[in-house]
């Protein structure tokens, strides 16, 4: 008797069509009882962007030294905040009763047709300033890192909630046949809330961010065991597939077929993931523009890999880079941090544009909060800035976002928003909107409640779009 042989490996070369599931396979036991319905996997609105590259700056970059030019600070250098702002005391670490105003030690000049001010620490950003929309007035509620991270990445200040990437892949599925829909890379970062920032939360596990690791094995267990040739591995996987199919034929259980498909994708990933990380195919000009040393893990390399992932149809790529938590010695630490990211961010936007990918790809640059306009004086004598949650700057590019546009403004001391405050939920609603998802309709029932990325808040800021 012959095995009912399915020509398993013949199919490996074929595309899998338009299956819109994050792993191409469904869970063997979807939480049907808690989910109101299956995943929407379709946009509610006209989508502007299809993919997201989210550059998350861990620790809270100093907007006043990078994007939000406040010349007036120089006038009040060393003085306490004026009477009208004395009540402001939402500090994380500053214990001083009257901390002193600390103007940016760096000079700003105008860039691009939009003529916006950019700090000398971000010379490359000057090159893309006409491609991006800067929001100067993002507001958050948490002054402590782990909670601020989670609020920014999941919409809730506590553990156990799905991240934005999980919501987006839940909402839109994937178009990649070789990769998970949601991929995470980290460089230099010290993420305080760790995996909670890219967790699936209560969504099914197939929506979790899959971290790519540095080194030769970007995904755990990607390499064959020592001594197992690729032909050997193929033989084992094929035997598994055939015996599974035999069982599946006897029992008529589709879960067994899903298991076999997972093995197919795993086997493909064993070659596609190393190919992804192999940057030899990139031109020297491209490598130089990002400032990538292909052999060394870095934020720049991750930016280039992010582009390659988007090319392969990966829905949501999130980069975490840190540490931007400059409570002290900002004078020497911040220029280093800026140097680590400035060139690659600019190169990424330009590269995406040249390849015609920028229209479909929303690039987000943000941290969990900004930093104060007053100095945090360290015992050692060095000076830094404390966490600031009332108004700080982020930028967006591509994905239908209005380029060269500035949204919101802060007071002359950079403390509060004077117009168009955008809280974290507004930002989330707006990002979902760019992807064609209505934040009020992208829901998942858990413990009797229909949860959203935006909780019960969020206003789409349509002004940000063309």
């Amino acid at each position: 008797m012959a095995l009912p042989r399915r020509r398993f490996f013949y199919r490996l070369g074929q595309g899998l069509g338009s299956v819109a599931l994050p792993w191409l396979i469904n869970t063997t036991s979807s939480p049907a009882a808690t989910a109101a319905d299956g995943p929407p996997t379709a946009a509610h609105l006209l989508p502007r962007a299809k993919n997201v590259i989210y550059l998350f700056m861990v620790g809270g970059p100093s907007q006043l030294d990078m994007f939000d030019y406040k010349p007036v600070l120089a006038k009040y250098a060393g003085e306490p905040l004026p009477e009208s702002l004395r009540k402001y005391s939402n500090f994380a670490q500053i214990k001083e009763r009257e901390p002193k105003i600390f103007p940016s030690p760096w000079s700003f000049s105008r860039f691009g047709d939009s003529g916006r001010y950019v700090s000398e620490l971000m010379p490359h950003f000057g090159k893309i300033v006409d491609e991006v929309a800067i929001i100067r007035t993002v507001k958050t509620k948490e002054t402590v890192h782990p909670f601020a991270e989670m609020l920014f990445n999941t919409g809730y200040r506590e553990y156990g909630k799905p991240s934005m990437g999980a919501w987006v892949t839940y909402g839109l599925g994937t178009e990649s046949k070789d990769f998970p829909a949601y991929i995470v890379m980290q460089s230099g970062s010290r993420l305080r809330a760790k995996g909670a920032n890219y967790s699936n939360g209560f969504l099914p596990p197939s929506y979790q961010g899959v971290p790519l690791r540095d080194g030769s094995e970007p995904i755990l267990n990607l390499q064959n065991p020592a001594g197992v040739s690729s032909e050997h591995q193929r033989d084992v996987v094929q035997a598994v597939a055939e015996l599974n199919n035999l069982r599946s034929g006897q029992l008529g259980d589709t879960a067994i077929e899903a298991r076999t498909r997972a093995y197919e994708l795993a086997f493909r990933m064993q070659s596609s993931a190393p190919e992804l990380m192999d940057l030899r195919g990139e031109s020297p000009a491209t490598l130089a523009s990002y400032g990538v040393d292909p052999s060394r893990p870095s934020f720049s390399r991750n930016c280039l890999i992010a582009r390659r992932l988007v090319e392969k149809g990966v829905r949501f790529v999130q980069l975490f880079h840190g540490d931007w938590d400059h409570h002290g010695d900002i004078a020497s630490a911040l220029p280093n941090s800026c140097r680590d990211v400035d060139q690659a961010c600019a190169a990424l936007v330009i590269d995406l544009k040249q390849r015609g990918l920028l229209d479909d790809t929303l690039v987000i640059f943000a941290g969990e909060f900004g930093r104060t306009s007053v100095a945090q004086q360290q015992v050692s004598g060095s000076i830094g800035r404390d966490h600031h949650i009332e108004a700080f700057s982020i930028w967006l590019a591509g994905g239908g976002v209005r380029s060269g546009y500035t949204f919101g403004a802060t007071d002359e001391l950079g403390v509060y928003a004077t117009e168009n405050s955008v809280d974290v939920h507004d930002l989330h609603a707006t990002i979902l909107y760019a992807l064609g998802l209505d934040h009020e309709h992208l829901t998942y029932r858990f413990q009797g409640r229909d949860f959203r990325l935006t909780d019960v808040y969020g206003n789409v800021r349509q002004e940000l779009f063309v």
Binding site: L3, Y159, Q447, R449
Partner: protein, 729 residues
């Protein structure tokens, strides 16, 4: 009083008609079904009189017959023993036990098997781990710092409690308020570790310890709601519950039960330990004095040694000593004299023997790791209602009390304020409408993949209605009336015909009942993360079946613990500790072992009442390539090669050790082909065999043997990657 009369009336009516409470409230004035006390319904009449083995089956069959269907045929004995062994112990059955069952023609063969499995110490591990999911158990605090928190004493208590069949009401009472019981025993105090398992983040609230404490109480109230009541109390922390009749005030009344509690550590060494420790200390003191005396008396010996040093011995001494010896004894400085003395004692057996004796005693001192527990606080803290859950805006003061909607008259003795012990007793009061139902439903869920109330974490008005309300209530009442007999509850379910059905999907029902809500068959369920590890080790013959104790550190890929705020090292366990059951692997909450997350082990951030059973390529990569699984495959191959001598017999053994059943001829043929081709490969490339076997402790010396072992390893890997290997059918 009025409420009491009302209840009396309801009970009377209930008794009169012997009907279960209406499932959907017929009018909006009726309390929600799950807020009404369950009454034991009459067993329904069925036409199929041969099928039912116990009352459970009557309810199930009645529903099936109503829909015009029959139950599935029973599973064969091989499937049954594998199913029951996984469900009750999380381990595959031994082959001899399988053979014994197959040979046993007595009518109670299966029942005796169940009794045996219930008596196994691994029962406590299996069901203990289920409970630890609910207890959000992990071995560190979580939060940014993720500090070590050795709470495994509590884990061991849970295992013991299930093994000794502690009545479940006591199991609950001890966890909620064991410390408040009169003359609380060590075990009763350790049980309160349940509330010490949650995330604790000292950095929360900008370093204000009070905020961190209040946050941990929120976790305790929410966990109480999930674990015992199946209610989403958390919703009421910030505003009155939108769907269930729980007000914010009532939330903080529950909160108040925990507010007068302190987090303390219980030192655990027993009295005997202390006595031995004390004796050791005294002995060490005596020996140390003796050693000092010996050293003082040895001045002459040092001199003789120095004078009798040969040139070679002298040159072999450290430079520093040689220099000290250059100065004559009479004019030698005390420092140099000390250097010489140290050099002498380093080679003096009399000194070494004495040192060694002291060292041995010191290392014998019991290493006590105190257990985190709760204790009643000396200070009384006022509990406020916090507006919108914001701890900075304290509202009115509330006292401990129970939610009104559960309609449970609970005696408030002489106007004394209620305390945690009252809460514990209230939870297990026979009139409490929720606790028994919630527990019974979760047990059911583990046996059928789905609860009778499918939303096992929400018995409130947004939850799904029970598929078999009478059955749920019948079991819940039976459970309470049995004296919360934990093992009897399991026996009841496992000996039902419903449980013993085949899990094969039924084509005729796939459209009508895709989720098998009618229980027209059993379920095929992927095994949990820990159990997947356990079955691999068990098949390979590597499993160390030791129960309990401190956590262990089996192989973990490098890099997992990088970038933590608190640096910790993963020092791999040695010897048999590398092969302990999965549930003993150390879990750093913030940076868990990737294997367990890959297979859906909970993050332990909140109470988990149901795990996902996902299916991802990362799982495939793990089973194919993870060094632990490769090692197990080599071990299984090694075992099979030593236990059998013909290919077919060996293949059969691989199959039986991995899947319990014997292979079909087609399966044998396919695996033989794999074996044949791999043999040829390894013969041609012997170095590949050598490399593969590096995963194993002892590679055969003869190249032919190594090649054979490598080829069998390939075969074992194939079997260990089959869907069936990680599935309970």
């Amino acid at each position: 009083m009025q409420r009491f009369l009302f209840r009396l009336a309801t009970i009377a009516i209930g008794l009169l008609f012997a009907q279960p409470p209406a499932v959907a409230a017929s009018s909006s004035d009726d309390p929600w079904w799950s807020f009404q006390q369950p009454l034991r319904p009459a067993k329904p009449k069925v036409s199929g009189v041969d099928w039912p083995r116990n009352p459970i089956d009557r309810f199930v069959l009645a529903r099936l017959e109503q829909a015009g269907f029959q139950p599935a045929p029973p599973a064969d004995h091989v499937t049954l023993i594998r199913r029951a062994s996984f469900d009750l112990t999380g381990l595959p059955p031994s082959l001899s036990r399988v053979d014994a069952l197959l040979a046993d023609r007595s009518p109670d063969a299966y029942e005796r098997l169940i009794d045996e499995l219930l008596a196994s110490p691994h029962f406590g591990e299996r069901w203990g781990r289920h409970w630890l999911d609910v207890a959000r158990y992990a071995d560190s605090t979580g939060g940014e710092m993720d500090l070590a928190r050795p709470v495994w004493h509590y884990r061991d208590w849970v295992i013991d409690a299930f093994n000794s069949n502690l009545p479940f009401d006591k199991f609950i009472v001890w966890q909620v308020a064991g410390d408040l019981l009169p003359d609380a025993t060590k075990e009763q105090q350790i049980a309160t570790g349940f509330y010490r398992c949650g995330v604790f983040d000292p950095l929360i609230g900008n370093g204000a310890n009070e905020i961190a404490r209040l946050e941990s109480l929120v976790d305790r109230v929410n966990t109480t709601g999930t674990a015992f009541l199946g209610l989403t109390l958390a919703c009421a922390q910030c505003h009155d519950h939108k769907y269930d009749p729980i007000s914010t005030e009532e939330y903080y009344q529950l909160f108040a039960f925990f507010n007068d509690t302190d987090d303390v550590h219980l030192g655990l060494p027993t009295k005997a330990d202390f006595e031995r420790q004390k004796a050791n200390r005294e002995l060490i003191k005596v020996l140390q004095n003796e050693l000092e005396e010996y050293k003082t008396k040895s001045a002459g010996k040092v001199r003789r040694w120095e004078l009798n040093l040969s040139q070679a011995e002298h040159d072999g001494l450290p430079k520093e000593v040689q220099k000290a010896l250059e100065v004559g004894v009479e004019i030698r400085s005390p420092e140099n004299a000390a250097v010489v003395a140290v050099a002498f004692f380093a080679q003096d057996t009399g000194h070494q023997t004495r040192r060694e004796a002291i060292r041995r005693l010191e290392s014998e001192a019991p290493k006590s790791e105190p257990a985190p527990v709760m204790a009643q606080s000396a200070v009384q803290r006022a509990t406020h209602v916090y507006d919108s859950g914001d701890f900075h805006s304290a509202g009115e003061v509330v006292a401990p009390d129970f939610p009104e909607a559960l309609g449970l008259d609970f005696p408030n003795p002489e106007g004394q304020p209620l305390n945690r012990l009252d809460l514990a007793h209230w939870l297990v009061d026979p009139q409490n409408p929720l606790t028994a139902r919630v527990i019974v439903n979760r047990v059911w869920q583990h046996y059928f993949g789905r609860g009778l109330v499918p939303t096992e974490n929400d018995f409130g008005q947004r939850g799904t209605l029970p598929t078999h309300p009478e059955l749920l209530d019948w079991i819940a009442v039976e459970f309470v009336e049995s004296g919360w007999d934990w093992k009897a509850l399991h026996r009841l379910i496992l000996t039902s015909a419903t449980y013993q059905q085949s899990s094969r999907p039924r084509a005729e029902l796939s459209d009508i009942d895709p989720h098998n809500t009618m229980l027209a068959r059993q379920a095929r369920l992927r095994l949990e993360a820990e159990i997947i590890r356990d079955v691999s080790l068990a098949a390979a013959g590597l499993l160390n079946r030791k129960l309990g104790g401190p956590t262990v550190f089996p192989y973990q890929p490098s890099g997992v613990l990088d970038s933590r705020a608190t640096k910790v090292e993963w020092i791999e366990s040695e010897g048999a500790d590398r092969y302990r059951r999965g549930m003993y692997t150390h879990q750093w909450r913030l940076t868990p072992h990737p294997f367990y997350r890959t297979f859906d082990a909970p993050e332990a951030l909140t109470s988990c009442t149901r795990r996902y059973r996902s299916n991802t390529p990362l799982q495939a990569l793990t089973l194919l390539n993870d060094p632990s699984f490769v090692e197990a495959a080599v071990a299984l191959a090694d075992r099979v090669l030593s236990e059998q001598h013909e290919d077919d017999k060996r293949l059969e053994l691989v199959f039986r050790l991995g899947l319990t059943r014997t292979p079909s001829p087609v399966e044998t043929q396919r695996l033989s082909e794999l074996l044949r081709v791999r043999r040829a490969e390894f013969r041609q490339h012997p170095q590949r065999a050598t490399k593969l076997l590096q995963a194993w402790k002892s590679s055969p010396a003869m190249p032919e043997q190594a090649q054979e072992l490598a080829a069998w390893t390939a075969t074992c890997r194939a079997v260990m990657n089959l869907d069936e290997f990680i599935t309970r059918e």
